[in-house]
Symmetry: C2
Subunit: 219 residues, 2 copies
């Protein structure tokens, strides 16, 4: 689809290598500069999608992370649906799945857990609801949680998580700059960290000593 | 990696098209015939991985679904680690993520949910623990849950889920045979269904009317 695209609107976290597959005449537009939290910004992207969608044959919206996992992909799809612009969604390898894997942490393990949850650490401010911390299993993957990591840890401990629950902060996951920091819930707040990082909470962090095939190779 | 493999051990749900990329002399072994529940069977696969791993340069274990999401990938990796056989894990597009997407159901939506959980509907019988139904968010993706769907629905309703919570059963997701059946928790038990299917529980099922780009195209 990238090869066929007339226009590509791409995110900050998209690998630039992907863009090199596009046609010479393809219009490539970076839409990842402004703050992620701004809804005005999202509205701008929606309008660009519509405008290019009306004028061009194949417009690709290339998103990092995962469009349908706290990625606003469905919001963009709804915008297009409501305006009668046909679309398809093509899944990629989700960062929520691949980052723990590349850090040697399985999301599930038969003798360890039968459920796990994904949550966003960056909830929309205008929302009428928020995460129910009492309704979470003991294994978690948190995206966009670096800024609020102290509050997240507090909320989890208040909801009954053991403060000693192992935590991994996976920075630049799956890239040659991947770096994993291990701490626990009681120290998460003061552990140095910066985005883009995925936070994994749960005892499966302990598999890392054995299953870390990637950072061992990098070092 | 498939192109380079000397041996490929592949699952039932693996697309046969993938195997056509292998070398002519590649040994291809189907290991998906026996019942998934049998631990003896898993032990056989582990031994084959080790035996081929000792004799050949590149052995690919090609799994359907997702190796690190209730897929025993980490168990196989641990087996190899303990025997000093080097391995890498390469993520694919997870069926847990792609099946709802292809059915028009976003895993998250800003105005709808900030968390969701994945669970297995087929827990190992010899386990010392099981899913805590009271510790789940309101949006769920359940794999291998078809056989136990009546009990799963009962457990969720008992834990406080509204019996009218929308449910989608996505059969043969992302393939040309994809077929989604919509029901609710109160009727899930008696709704006809068969594996391989992914079950999605939560109000995001309602986006399907608008975001189903795939089955609409198939029909």
């Amino acid at each position: 689809m990238i090869k066929k695209a007339d226009v590509i609107l791409y995110d900050k976290l998209v690998s630039k290598d992907l863009l090199s597959y596009s046609k010479k005449e393809c219009i490539k537009i970076y839409v990842g500069k402004k703050s992620e939290g701004s809804s005005h910004f999202q509205e701008d992207i929606n309008k660009e999608l519509r405008d290019y969608g009306e004028k061009h044959n194949i417009v690709v919206r290339l998103k990092g992370g995962d469009p349908y996992i706290f990625g606003r992909g469905a919001e963009e799809a709804m915008y297009l649906y409501e305006r009668g612009i046909p679309f398809e969604v093509i899944p990629g390898i989700s960062s929520t799945v691949s980052c723990p894997m590349y850090s040697g942490i399985p999301l599930s393990y038969r003798e360890s857990n039968s459920a796990f949850a994904f949550l966003t650490g960056h909830e929309a401010e205008d929302k009428s609801f928020s995460i129910n911390w009492n309704k979470l299993p003991d294994t978690l993957v948190i995206v966009m949680g670096i800024k609020n990591r102290a509050a997240i840890a507090q909320n989890l401990i208040k909801a009954g998580f053991n403060p000693k629950t192992p935590v991994a902060i996976i920075k630049n996951g799956t890239t040659l700059l991947q770096e994993t920091t291990v701490c626990d819930l009681s120290t998460l707040g003061e552990t140095p960290a910066e985005p883009p990082s995925v936070i994994f909470v749960g005892k499966n962090v302990l598999f890392r000593d054995k299953l870390d095939f990637f950072e061992k190779k990098l070092s």
